[in-house]
């Protein structure tokens, strides 16, 4: 945390996912004070919930660890979690930003010892695992949480259990009187790195996501495959916890579709290839069918496609499935037309993964915040002092997001200290 308060030289980064973290660090390591705001209880955003990255199949937490080390070492970066921007007033070099902080009910004295969780009884849905399992009402968001502090779910506030949780803390870190508050900060430039959320699979009514347990989304697949996910990293059928033998990966579940997301979400094809790899690494017998309209393995990522395509147990079917039915045994049955063979198929699977697309997380709030957005809700920056990074600007993969974040940091730097030219 900086010693002096933010001034007009300070850069505000909104959103603590990979783009926001990258933008904040690149600016800070270039010599600027940065305030990094994150809505949730921990930094890391969506990538913290990914098991691995394509195409290297390496763990996102590996890069996050380096970034957290960079933040820990850098006095120029101030991190505020549980915070959202409520209002932005002013202009370049002189913004007044109203920030709304949600109560965490745990203060900075928390040592992450876990005594509160031991005292808690109520279990709440675990958003980190996309609600596939539950956590104690007092919990650490996940093992790589940064800051490493517990959080108490609002559900138990005001109950005797909350008092029990408070009593269990030896460090006086539980603050049951914590309340939502707003405060103002003065900054010279703002970088919006508000990221995305997965498209609501429930809206794809013909795919029966809500009704058939073995129809899951790609983001859920990441948690199933993750060592700290609900199955401890085993890709299993949610209906019966058995290993899937036949898996369907359905592309463009919402994307490239006027009825849902009109744009292509860019990453889903590659993420699905990664999912094929997850399945095939774990299950020798498994067959994976990838249903697609166009395989969009852009640039060097083509190699990743070729690597998966080389596996005879991964099949590629050019078809957007029309619907998913529940089979007699409850298994999902994928129905549609194979556009290359003209076969009308009805294929039963053990597991179907819907590659849902990315929707800008800011969507709906952009107007209130007076941000320039396109029809889809992605930010189209118009001036250096209000730049944007990562998926807030369009569907990007991680590498492109970081690239975009670095560029956004450059714009912010120009706005707070460069020559007035743009």
């Amino acid at each position: 945390m900086t010693n002096q308060g933010p001034s007009s030289q300070t850069i505000l980064v909104v959103g603590g996912g990979i783009s926001g973290i990258s933008a904040a660090l690149e600016a800070a390591e270039s010599g600027y004070d940065v305030v990094l705001l994150e809505k949730s209880a921990t930094l890391g955003g969506r990538v913290a919930q990914l098991n691995r990255y394509f195409p290297k199949l390496c763990h996102p937490t590996c890069g996050l660890e380096i970034n957290y080390q960079r933040i820990k070492k850098n006095r120029r970066v101030s991190v505020f979690t549980m915070c959202e921007v409520d209002k932005v007033a002013g202009g370049k070099g002189d913004f007044t930003v109203t920030v709304k902080r949600a109560p965490r009910y745990v203060n900075t004295r928390c040592t992450a010892c876990g005594d509160c969780a031991a005292a808690a009884e109520t279990e709440v849905a675990n958003p980190f695992n996309h609600n596939l399992d539950k956590v104690k009402a007092a919990h650490l968001p996940h093992e790589m949480a940064f800051p490493m502090r517990y959080v108490i779910a609002p559900e138990v506030i005001g109950t005797p259990e909350a008092d029990k949780i408070k009593a269990a803390c030896k460090y006086d870190a539980v603050d049951l009187d914590d309340k939502e508050e707003t405060f103002e900060i003065k900054v010279g430039a703002v970088i919006w790195a508000t990221g995305w959320h997965p498209y609501d699979a429930g809206k794809l009514t013909s795919y029966q996501y809500a009704a058939i347990p073995d129809v899951i989304t790609n983001v859920e697949m990441e948690r199933l495959a993750a060592h700290d996910g609900p199955t401890g990293g085993k890709v299993l059928r949610p209906s019966n916890n058995e290993a899937p033998k036949r898996v369907a990966l359905i592309q463009c579940a919402g994307s490239r579709d006027y009825n849902h997301l009109a744009y292509c979400s860019r990453i889903c094809c590659l993420a699905s290839m990664k999912h094929a790899a997850y399945v095939r690494e774990q299950h020798a017998e498994a067959e994976v069918d990838v249903y697609y309209i166009d395989i969009r393995a852009h640039d060097k990522l083509e190699h990743f496609y070729r690597r998966l395509a080389a596996d005879p147990q991964v099949n590629w079917i050019k078809s957007k499935p029309a619907r998913i039915e529940a089979g007699e045994d409850g298994r999902p049955v994928v129905c549609g037309e194979n556009t290359v063979t003209r076969d009308i198929y009805r294929e039963p699977y053990d597991l179907v993964v819907l590659a849902v697309g990315m929707q800008p997380a800011l969507n709906g709030r952009a107007t209130a915040l007076e941000l320039p957005v396109d029809d889809y809700g992605f930010i189209v920056p118009e001036e250096a002092a209000v730049s944007a990074a990562g998926v807030a600007t369009g569907p990007l993969d991680v590498s492109m997001s970081v690239q975009s974040a670095t560029a956004a940091a450059m714009k912010a730097i120009q706005a707070v200290s460069g020559r007035a030219r743009q």
Binding site: S30, K56, C62, A112, A297, R307, A407
Partner: protein, 755 residues
Amino acid sequence: MSDRKTGVYLCGGCGIGEGLSLDQLESVAQENKAGLCRRHDALCTEEGVALIEADRANEGVTDLVIAACSPRVMTDRFRFDGTPMVRANLREMCIWSHPAGDEDTQMIADDQIRMGLAQVTRMKTPQPFTEGEWSQRILVLGGGFTGMRAALEAAAAGHEVLLIERSDQLGGFARNASKDLPHKPPYREPQPNEIGKLVEAVQADDLITVKTNCTVAKTAGMPGRFEIDLDQGGTASTETVGAIVIATGWRPYDATRLGHLGYGASPDVVTNVEMEKLLAAGGVTRPSDGKAPKAVAFVQCAGSRDPEHLPYCSSVCCSVSIKQALELIEADPETSCYIIFDELRTPGQAEEFYRAAQEKGVIFIKGKVKSVDGSLKVLVDDALLQEEVPMEGLDMVVLATGMVPNSTVADQPFENPEPAVIQVTDDIDPRSPLTFAGAEAAEKADPAARPMMAGAPLLNLQYRQGPHVPILADGFADSHYICFPYETRRTGIYTAGPVRRPMDSHEAAQDAAGAALKAIQCVRNAQSGEAVHPRSGDMSYPIVNYNQCTKCRRCTVECPFGAIDEDEKDYPIVNPSRCRRCGTCMGACPVRTISFENYHPEMISSMIKSVEIPDEFDEKPRILILACENDAYPALDMAGLNREQYSPYVRIIPVRCLGSVSLLWISDALSVGYDGVVLMGCKPGDDYQCHFVKGSAMAKERMSKVGETLKSMMLEEERVTQMEISIADSKAIAKMIDDFVETIDSLGPNPFKGF
């Protein structure tokens, strides 16, 4: 040494006080010459920190051993700038991963105090390397779209820029191009090509110096003071710059190799680049007869995505063909345009561009072109009509050729002055097969089978590791990191635009801004003597003790970043601002001559030796774990957080990177009676995860030779191993440790115990 006083601070919180005897720890501290030892129930609280601050102020405490939680947490509390500090990890790696109140657990804690004291007394606060003059100026190589954008961005941030263009004018490829792709809502229409405005802006910018007809003859020095020899039309000059952005762009794939697609069979078969020129000139006419084309077919992936030609996707060709078709239709709405594709790739908002083209009547045909003949008959294996379709009546055929990165000056032959020097570091093969359950590990392709890029080096680096900027498998420049796309293997040299990855102008503009930022960041950090990514802000750097150096050259060869050169007498010369502080040179050195002020061979050796080794009758083996602090150490930490329990016989020392591990530490450990040694680090190889590129690979290579050492010591090879650990192994790591301890148990104690 005499004026230093170490304070040892024992935290009793988070179960440490209940599970360990703090009295015992205090006596260990005193036996090991701690100047002072204090306890607190929660050191991380304001009161706890105040206690330490008071001792620094009033008790002359100069060094700190904070025996509490992991060094990865509470970093904002335990931050005492300028004071050597060690965090003895009594929480995650002791009381959270081993039973409370247990003799073996206590022994871990005791040893942690011993190691902490051994370490901190050998640490100095690093003094940054800041000697000499530093330049803030940025060199941008390439005066095309990306280069000019990079120059303007750096100048807008207040930095002087030297922009070098090989041809006689600015503008690059875009100078001869027609319209641009749409990057702003509604993403439907081709946009005006603004390269002219860009050239004007560059020329008008007083911070930018442009040199055309200019190439780099030679680059020496390091970030903050690169010495660049220029050759401008035969005139030589030397310039000093702080950092370099390479924006040399791309060139079209050689269409003469696409005879099977009709190139050369008719003048009316043109490449997309040639079509771009025709469009730019206005009023497209057939090269053969000057008539306006009424029917034009675009053949996608002409060379791209073809193992015989370019194995990668050139990314922009689909959108470019759409754009060209739209331009033709705009000129004459009756024009029939066909785009024959395998996979149509218009990612993101560009999907709307695809739809706009369909609305305007462009026909998209999924299929493979089998042949194009001189009469422009295109034979298409039409995937959706399920038949072979001869397309006739076409007036022109456009081959959408792909992008080849200008990672070298391709058309300039280069005589390798020193064949022993690595030409191009092309050590990453993204094509290597994946491994699946039940399948045998596939054969890896022979790296030698991959052709190196021809041509002269862009910068002609006067580095021990060769004149080229390292590239990846397909000839594109670094980075291989997903999270850190700008981290090249040559500090201070950043690449931007299509030389890095096939990309369109919008991405290239972003990339230019990003690379320019990295360049200015690098010059600023070089000046203050601080490391850049990933050990950002680290002031330490390798210092060579020339009295002991045997000139073996291992440090210069093994440095992943080419930071160490050799002088005329073959002594290593460290260029501190090129260095990323991983310590691979230190690990490479067989005679411990390379050290950092706060991290050196003797320090680790002392830590290893400070551990108390029970004799063989106690049946308490000791196993040394040297854990990479970036992934293995966090994984161990999180195992503790999850209360995973593992053998109490291991002693863990974090290292900067496995590359910094000296084999001498292993023999040190075995000679003092450790029963086994484990190196824990990231995955090496093509998909390496080492943050220092090849630290873990170097460790692996060195470990292949450790067998000889063990044999000469009459010890079993199994006593020493390297474990590939990822940061996500927090749930698996305990078992991996226990399995190794079992192996050691089966081997029995190290006979050197008590020597």
